[in-house]
């Protein structure tokens, strides 16, 4: 039952009105920003892969062409990885009907599952035999620590995470850390797509450190770094 003291006073309204009159507000709707992000991120990933692969191996998407027994397998895995990145992105960015984002359990699922699913697709049964890890095969020395891949995954992941942060800036009033983690996992997944298409290595250590680890790190980075930017 409402009582007189449960109503805000007139002077409080005046204070709020005055503060709002002096406060600028963005006019670009979040939905527009999300659509732009969904268009830019795949284009960015493709561009980085083509440039990097051409620079290092002299051909676009070396990971899909060098030391590949079955081109069909390569395209299938690539399609699955793109599907993983795209689906995690869509769910992490989605405002849902209430405007408060998807359920916390779903966000946790995205953050927790992207890494193991990516590892299952690329590490359990590597596409490459490991022949390209011999410098004589491609003329390119591939580090067992995957430094080039870490660099490429970082470029793509960091850019993607920044794009996501801009898309959802001030749009996440609840579960900011979980949302950030889901966005980080999605950004990491795009980095994972990039290194899969770029890199012909089949070495287990290289795959784990250079391909899988960056996704895990971006998941954590998203949870830590995005919370404040996402809050209204």
């Amino acid at each position: 039952m409402a009582t007189p003291s449960d109503r805000p006073s007139d002077w409080l309204y005046a204070r709020i009105r005055s503060a709002i009159a002096n406060t600028p507000a963005a006019t670009t709707r979040t939905r527009t920003r999300i659509l732009v992000a969904l268009a830019v991120v795949p284009a960015l990933t493709t561009t980085v892969v083509f440039i990097a692969s051409d620079w290092v191996y002299g051909q676009p998407a070396a990971g899909l062409g060098i030391d590949v027994a079955s081109p069909g397998s390569a395209m299938t895995i690539l399609a699955l990885l793109v599907g993983l990145a795209l689906s995690s992105t869509l769910f992490a960015l989605w405002q849902a009907r209430g405007g408060l984002g998807i359920a916390a359990t779903s966000l946790i699922s995205i953050a927790a599952l992207v890494v193991p699913v990516y590892a299952a697709l690329t590490v359990l049964q590597p596409l490459h035999s490991g022949a390209a890890d011999d410098v004589a095969f491609t003329g390119v020395a591939i580090s067992p620590w995957g430094w080039r891949c870490i660099f490429i995954a970082t470029i793509v992941g960091a850019s993607t995470l920044a794009i996501f942060a801009v898309a959802l800036r001030r749009a996440v009033p609840v579960a900011g850390a979980l949302r950030g983690a889901a966005l980080g996992a999605a950004a990491g997944a795009w980095g994972g797509v990039a290194v899969f298409a770029f890199c012909p290595s089949g070495d287990l250590q290289h795959l784990l450190v250079g391909h899988v680890l960056p996704i895990a790190l971006f998941t954590v980075l998203g949870a830590v770094a995005l919370t404040r930017a996402l809050q209204p």
């Binding site: 406060t23 507000a25 963005a26 709707r29 849902a96 001030r170 749009a171 609840v174």
Partner: protein
């Protein structure tokens, strides 16, 4: 809200009129003093204004405002926990209720005030998570799913927290000599 989100500033007064009563009551329940509730309320509207372009068409603006208010409150709580300071006595929500009625006896009014004070004190004592779950479900009449969306957690967790709050209130009423239905025992 959709019109305000599109940039129509002139509808603010209308929006305020629709949101303010329930949002203010929610802020009173969040905070432990009227001054704090006022600050939380003002900051919520400010953030709502700044973030208006992020409003999702079709969403319930009140639930969205509740979520922002809670986020504001938690931010302020974390800030003041890092900077504890001694404040003078302020009116608290137990004093804010006006239970004057013209058709009850003085004894009934005192009893009602005592009941009100007991409930308000117990609500202010319990953890913020349990209190807010209780307020959203029992006072604001949100569904468990809606409350879970506002709080950013699962339906089961919301129900558990509300249940714990209800048990605390029941225990407090019992200790103060009331039955769970508000009758003296």
């Amino acid at each position: 809200m959709e019109r305000y989100a599109r940039g129509e500033d002139r509808v603010f007064e209308q929006l305020y009129g629709l949101l303010a009563p329930r949002l203010y009551r929610f802020c009173l329940r969040l905070a432990t003093s009227v001054v704090e509730a006022d600050d939380c309320f003002q900051e919520t509207f400010l953030k709502l204004h700044r973030a208006r372009a992020t409003y999702a068409t079709g969403a319930n603006p009140l639930h969205w405002a509740f979520a922002i208010a809670r986020s504001v409150y938690l931010t302020r709580l974390r800030y003041w926990r890092r900077r504890p300071e001694q404040l003078g006595a302020t009116r608290d929500i137990a004093e804010a209720g006006d239970l004057q009625a013209h058709d009850t006896t003085p004894e009934a009014e005192v009893a009602a005030q005592h009941l009100h004070d007991t409930l308000a004190f117990e609500l202010s004592r319990m953890s913020e998570k349990n209190r807010i779950a209780y307020v959203l479900l029992k006072e604001e009449n949100l569904s468990a799913r809606e409350a879970a969306a506002v709080l950013g957690t699962s339906v089961e967790v919301v129900k558990q927290r509300a249940h714990r709050a209800y048990q605390s209130l029941k225990s407090a009423l019992s200790s103060a000599g009331w039955s769970e239905y508000g009758n003296p025992v």
